[in-house]
């Protein structure tokens, strides 16, 4: 991989965020986060519950604005893009999306084409191609024709990933994409994402919880705690038992397969 640092697709500069509630003290969720994600990079976001992971993703797509600091998407403050322009660049897979009954798999995946829609009426051949590619890449092509409400949790998750891929984003944000997936599908999903970042140059940021799985599949890890980045670097360096113990407040003998299968390609841009 090239050594010259490419322009980041996403950059957070000293970002702070507080939830304001009338008559209650502010709760500061992010306290000065600075992070840059390069195109084609795959990053895992780890941290305890309430450490600010989901908030960070929401700020990245501009559905919430930072209290201070800057969020730049594709070199421009995210608030200056329209929702549609953001959606042409970033796809986000929320933690708990609601799936309407009655739609078929391919109909749902086609909704991912919305930000690229040229006509008010239908879809074109490029939509067709994107939907098919997304279904194949997300290992969901064999689910075509089935109704969403008939799928298992894991199958739904694959369909949702396909929907996000159909959006053909340059940055893919996944909030706990491995939930509902069995171990084999977790590994398969992360491997598929790794292939995509290589083939499409897609940048991926995924909120994950399992340090072992992360170390196995993701080259770079950002560790959040209490709204601050406490570590950012190659997963082998970040995911050491003492760090895990201090951040999560537990001391489990974690069998982290350090240095094994992490893709090995550099891509770490320490804060």
């Amino acid at each position: 991989m090239s050594q010259s640092a490419p322009e980041p697709i996403l950059a957070l500069e000293d970002v702070r965020f507080s939830y304001r509630r009338r008559g209650r003290p502010e709760r500061e969720v992010l306290r000065g986060v600075t992070v840059a994600i390069a195109p084609g990079e795959m990053v895992a976001l780890l941290g305890p519950n309430g450490s600010g992971k989901t908030t960070m993703l929401r700020l990245a797509v501009g559905t919430m604005a930072p209290s201070s600091g800057f969020v730049r998407l594709d070199s421009r403050p995210v608030g200056e893009w329209t929702r549609r322009e953001v959606a042409q660049r970033v796809a986000i897979l929320p933690q708990l999306p609601s799936l309407p009954d009655g739609f078929r798999v391919e109909e749902l995946v086609e909704m991912g084409r919305a930000p690229h829609a040229r006509s008010r009426f239908g879809a074109g051949p490029e939509d067709e191609a994107a939907v098919e590619r997304a279904l194949i890449d997300a290992d969901a092509i064999d689910l075509v024709g089935r109704r969403i409400d008939e799928l298992s949790g894991g199958e739904r998750q694959r369909v949702l990933v396909a929907m996000a891929l159909a959006q053909e984003p340059r940055l893919l944000l996944l909030d706990e994409p491995t939930q509902h997936l069995d171990l084999a599908h977790q590994v398969a999903l992360l491997a598929a994402l790794d292939r995509l970042r290589r083939s499409r140059g897609l940048a991926v940021v995924a909120v994950l919880h399992d340090p072992a799985l992360t170390a196995l599949s993701v080259p770079r890890v950002i560790l959040l705690n209490h709204g601050r980045v406490v570590a950012d670097g190659q997963s082998g360096d970040v995911l050491r038992p003492p760090t895990i113990a201090s951040v999560f407040g537990i001391s489990l003998p974690i069998a982290v397969a350090l240095g094994g299968g992490a893709g090995g390609s550099g891509g770490s841009v320490p804060g």
């Binding site: 929320p94 930000p115 067709e128």
Partner: protein
């Protein structure tokens, strides 16, 4: 690459064949209902004669075989009433779909955020207190348009009540859909209390007000239709163009926003259009219940949740249902059409409730 996708197209929504079939069925249903509505009544005209009268009206050389009063009955009495039924049913069906998607609530109907309550108050004010000065001004306008004061007041009342609900429900510049729903309920109750108070304090106009509240298509003329039709049809057409947004809203706020929907703007547009359609429908026929609730569910069960077909078919289905219900109401002997739709609607609502309790699902 596997060749699975070569079997049939993956995208593009319903296939042209299926869309034609479904829309054709809807249009046929509506045409049958309209023909029946025009031909059947206390004075039997007959289907052949109905066709003859229509043909003659279109300038075709047809020898009249019918009673001299038949064309008048058809064109001046029944046709405006049938057209009003079709228009109101189409508007309520369409607005019902929109509110159910917007609020992501299967129990939502076009009246849920205050349009019906506001329209009732407007109409009741017009009937019971027409001497108040601002109402006099509106009265002059409505007289100029050649339509009833109650209708104009109902339309304005519907718009005003929804605007009030939107303002009250706003927090930090945006309203959550649950807040909107609950605010709509509370404001509707408040307005209903006001309507009841007006009714109690003025006994003389009671029966005409109650008739209006139950919903009736009688007494609608062409001037009213000419004003309401562009509002209902234009609004529905603009809603139809927003099918993609409606589909995306079903995915929830965060996903819809992530797919490029500007939530605040999209909701503003949808609420505004659906409220205009609803208020125009209510102004024309009073608060006819259950059409806006039942039709979207029936159509969804039949053809699925994709708004590309759901919206137009709900328009056609709502129109056909209301024309048929009005025919039944006339045949039974002057029962308000709202009573007929409630008689169909309430049992359906109960069934829906039992079904959603048995299998908890999203709309």
């Amino acid at each position: 690459m596997r060749a699975t996708a070569a079997v049939r197209p993956l995208v593009g929504g319903p296939s042209p064949g299926r869309a034609t079939l479904v829309l054709g069925a809807g249009i046929s249903l509506l045409l049958v209902a309209v023909l029946a509505g025009v031909a059947v009544g206390s004075v039997e005209v007959g289907l052949t004669e109905t066709f003859g009268i229509i043909a003659q009206h279109l300038g075709l050389p047809v020898a009249p075989t019918w009673d001299a009063s038949a064309p008048t009955i058809l064109f001046e009495v029944r046709l405006p009433r049938v057209l009003a039924g079709a228009l109101v049913g189409a508007g309520l069906g369409c607005a019902g779909v929109v509110f159910q998607a917007l609020l992501r609530n299967p129990m939502a109907d076009p009246y849920v955020i205050g349009a019906a309550a506001g329209a009732s108050l407007g109409a009741v004010l017009a009937i019971t207190a027409p001497i108040v000065l601002p109402i006099l001004a509106v009265g002059a306008g409505s007289a100029w348009l050649g339509i009833g004061l109650a209708q104009v007041m109902a339309f304005l009342g519907g718009l005003a009540a929804v605007t009030l609900v939107l303002i009250v429900a706003r927090q930090d510049g945006r309203a959550s859909m649950v807040t909107l729903l609950l605010t709509g309920y509370a404001v509707s109750s408040l307005i209903a209390a006001g309507v009841a108070l007006l009714l109690v304090s003025s006994g003389r106009a009671l029966s005409s007000v109650v008739g209006w509240l139950l919903g009736s298509l009688g007494g609608t003329g062409y001037p009213e239709l000419a004003v309401a039709a562009p509002l209902v049809l234009g609004g529905s057409a603009l809603l139809l163009l927003r099918w993609r947004t409606l589909n995306l809203l079903l995915l929830g706020d965060e996903a819809a926003s992530g797919l490029g929907v500007d939530l605040a703007a999209a909701r503003r547009g949808l609420v505004l259009l659906a409220t205009v359609v609803t208020s125009a429908a209510v102004a024309l026929a009073g608060t006819i219940g259950f059409v806006g609730l039942v039709v979207p569910h029936l159509v969804r069960l039949a053809i699925g949740p994709d708004h590309r077909l759901l919206l137009p078919v709900s328009c056609l289905g709502g129109a056909a249902l209301l024309v048929t219900a009005d025919l039944v109401a006339r045949l039974v002997g002057g029962v308000p059409v709202g009573v007929v739709t409630a008689l169909i609607g309430a049992p359906f609502f109960l069934w829906l409730l039992r079904r959603s309790v048995a299998a908890p699902t999203s709309p």
